[in-house]
Amino acid sequence: MTAQTAQTAGPGQDHNPLNPPQTKAVDGVTAARQRWMSVLARTPRTVLETKWADTYSDVKWSHLREPQIGMVMVRGRAGGAGQRFNLGEMTVTRCAVTLSDGTVGHSYVKGRDRLQAQYAALFDAIMLRDGSACDFIDDLAAAQANAKHEHARKVAATKVDFFTLVRGEDE
C-alpha cells in the first residue's frame, strides 16, 4: 500500500447516519492499519524502542501531539447485547507524530507508558509512509497470536470432560 491511499482512507470515510459505527464497512487499507495499530498497542515499549534504535534511528520526526495520559470510559451492554452502560474507566496514552515528509502517525494505547505511545505512533507513521516495518509487525502479531494460543491450550486443559467419565465406566 502507499502512504497516499492510507492517509485518505481515514477521516474521508462516509459517515452514514443510518449505519451505526459497529457495522461501518472499512476498506482494505483501513483494515490493514487497524491491524498494525492493534498489534503495536499490545507491544511493550522496550521492544518498540529497540527496533526503532536498530532500524530507524536516522528518521527525522517531531511530535504533532506530545504523549498524553488520559482515560477511556469503557462501555458494556446489559446482558451482553442490550442497553449500553458505563462500566468504568481505563488509563490510555495517546500520541501523534509527523515524519519529515509530512506523514502523520497516531497511537492510542492502554496504560500510562508515554514512550510506548510515542513509538507506536512512529511505527504507524513508518507503515503509512512505506510499509517497511511490515515484517516487524508480522513477527509481533505472530508472537501475540502464539501467546494467546498457548494460554488457550492451558485453559483447555481445565475443561470438564463428562464423557471421559462415562467411557471410563465402560472399560
Binding site: 470515510q13 487497524q34 469503557v74 458494556g76 451482553g80 442490550g82 452502560f85 462500566l87 488509563t91 481445565t158
Partner: protein, 377 residues
C-alpha cells in the same frame, strides 16, 4: 457539622512519618515491590480497579502498597487519581461474546457447546492452609496444556441456547441506541434510575455490600430465584473511534468477569412464560462480585417486572445510595474528625437541660418535704 480546626501540624507530620515507618514494617524484611503486588496479589488489584472504577493494574498495586493493604483506602486513592486525568473517549460497547475465555461455566446446562471450562479457580479446593507457601518452597509450576486450545467462539447460554426456544426474555435494546448513556461520575444520581445507571453503580459498588444484598435476595428478601446461566472470565479488546482517525481502533485488552443469571419466569394466561435475566459485569477476575451484581440487578428490575417491593435489594434508592464505599467511608469516618464546636453546643444544651430538671426535682422535693409533716400529724 464539621468545623475546620487549625494547629497540630507537627503532630500530624509526625503521625504521617510514623505511618510510613509502620507501613514499611521490620526493615530486616525485604520491601514489597509494586510488581509483586500486581502479579501475586492480583485479586486485590482486581478489586481496587473495579471499585476504584479505573482499570490500571500498576496504579492499583501502588495504591494497595500505599494503603498498607487496606483496599478501601486503595480504592479511595484510585478515585482521587482518576479525577486528575482527562477523558479522551468512550469505548464502543465491549463484546463479551468475543471474550478470550480463561473460565466459562454454566450451572444450568451440563453439556453445553464449548464445554465447562474451570480455569484458575478456588472452587473444589479444600480450603486447607498450604504451609509450603509459607516456607516459600512453592515451585513455579507450569500448568499443563491441552492438545487443542479452547473454542474461540463459545455460544452464550442465555442468548444462543435458552433464547433459541424463546424461553428467556430478550435484553431490551433502546430504539435509539445512540442515546446518551447515564454517567454517575458526571451527574448526580437521580431517581427513578435507569438500568444503565444502576449497572454502573453496582459494578463500582462495594463488594461486601453487593454480596450481602445479593445474599438477601436468596434468603427471601426479594423472590427472584436465580440460577447461574453462565459465568465467563477472560480478556476482551477495547475499541475506540478517535475523531482524528474516523475509524475504530483497538487499544488493548482488559480482563472482565461476566455473570448472567436465569431467574424465575414471568407470564400470564395469554403470554407464554419466560425466564427473566440479571446481569453482572466487573473489571478483572471477580466472580463473587459478578454473581452478586447479577442478583441485585435482577432484584432492582422489580418495577419493570411489576413485582412487589419486599426487600432492600429491590429498592434502587436504598441500594444505590449506600453501595459506594468511598462515599460511605467518608461519611462514617468523618465523625472521628474534630467536632469540638458542634459538641460544645450539644454539651451546653445537655447541661442546661440537666440544670432545669435538677431545679424541678429540687422543687418537687421541697414541696414534698413541706407536705409530709402535715401528713404525719
Amino acid at each position: 457539622m464539621y468545623v475546620a480546626v487549625k494547629g497540630g501540624e507537627r503532630a500530624i507530620n509526625n503521625a504521617h512519618r510514623l505511618l510510613a515507618e509502620q507501613r514499611r514494617g521490620d526493615k530486616k524484611i525485604a520491601e514489597i515491590e509494586t510488581d509483586q503486588i500486581e502479579q501475586q496479589l492480583s485479586l486485590s488489584v482486581t478489586r481496587v480497579m473495579a471499585e476504584g472504577s479505573l482499570y490500571d493494574r500498576d496504579l492499583a498495586a501502588l495504591a494497595i502498597k500505599q494503603g498498607r493493604g487496606d483496599l478501601i483506602e486503595a480504592i479511595f486513592l484510585m478515585r482521587a487519581y482518576r479525577t486528575t486525568l482527562p477523558r479522551f473517549a468512550f469505548s464502543k460497547p465491549i463484546r463479551t461474546a468475543d471474550m478470550d475465555v480463561s473460565r466459562r461455566i454454566s450451572a444450568t446446562f451440563k453439556d453445553l457447546p464449548g464445554g465447562q471450562i474451570l480455569g484458575p479457580t478456588f472452587d473444589y479446593t479444600h480450603r486447607l492452609l498450604d504451609f509450603t507457601l509459607m516456607a516459600n518452597s512453592e515451585d513455579p509450576l507450569d500448568a499443563p496444556s491441552g492438545e487443542h486450545p479452547v473454542d474461540e467462539n463459545m455460544p452464550r447460554v442465555l442468548d444462543d441456547i435458552l433464547n433459541y426456544e424463546g424461553l428467556i426474555q430478550d435484553e431490551p435494546v433502546p430504539v435509539d441506541d445512540t442515546a446518551p448513556v447515564a454517567d454517575l461520575t458526571r451527574e448526580p444520581i437521580k431517581f427513578p434510575a435507569g438500568r444503565d445507571l444502576r449497572l454502573q453503580n453496582l459494578t463500582r459498588g462495594d463488594e461486601g455490600f453487593v454480596l450481602a444484598l445479593g445474599y438477601s435476595t436468596q434468603r427471601g428478601y426479594a423472590n427472584s430465584h436465580a440460577f447461574v446461566g453462565e459465568i465467563r472470565y477472560g480478556t476482551v479488546s477495547v475499541e475506540i473511534e478517535p475523531e482524528e482517525l474516523g475509524f475504530a481502533i483497538d487499544i488493548g485488552d482488559i480482563e472482565l468477569t461476566e455473570c448472567e443469571t436465569v431467574n424465575k419466569f414471568k407470564g400470564s394466561k395469554t403470554k407464554l412464560p419466560q425466564f427473566t435475566r440479571g446481569y453482572g459485569l466487573v473489571f478483572g477476575q471477580n466472580e463473587r462480585k459478578a454473581i452478586s451484581m447479577a442478583l441485585v440487578d435482577r432484584a432492582m428490575r422489580a418495577d419493570e417486572m411489576g413485582e412487589q417491593i419486599m426487600g432492600p435489594a429491590q429498592d434502587s434508592e436504598f441500594v444505590m445510595e449506600h453501595s459506594d464505599n468511598v462515599q460511605s467511608t467518608g461519611f462514617v469516618e468523618h465523625i472521628k474528625l474534630p467536632h469540638y464546636v458542634d459538641f460544645q453546643g450539644e454539651l451546653e444544651l445537655v447541661r442546661r437541660m440537666r440544670a432545669e430538671v435538677e431545679e424541678r426535682l429540687a422543687k418537687l422535693e421541697a414541696d414534698e418535704a413541706k407536705s409530709q409533716p402535715e401528713a404525719a400529724e
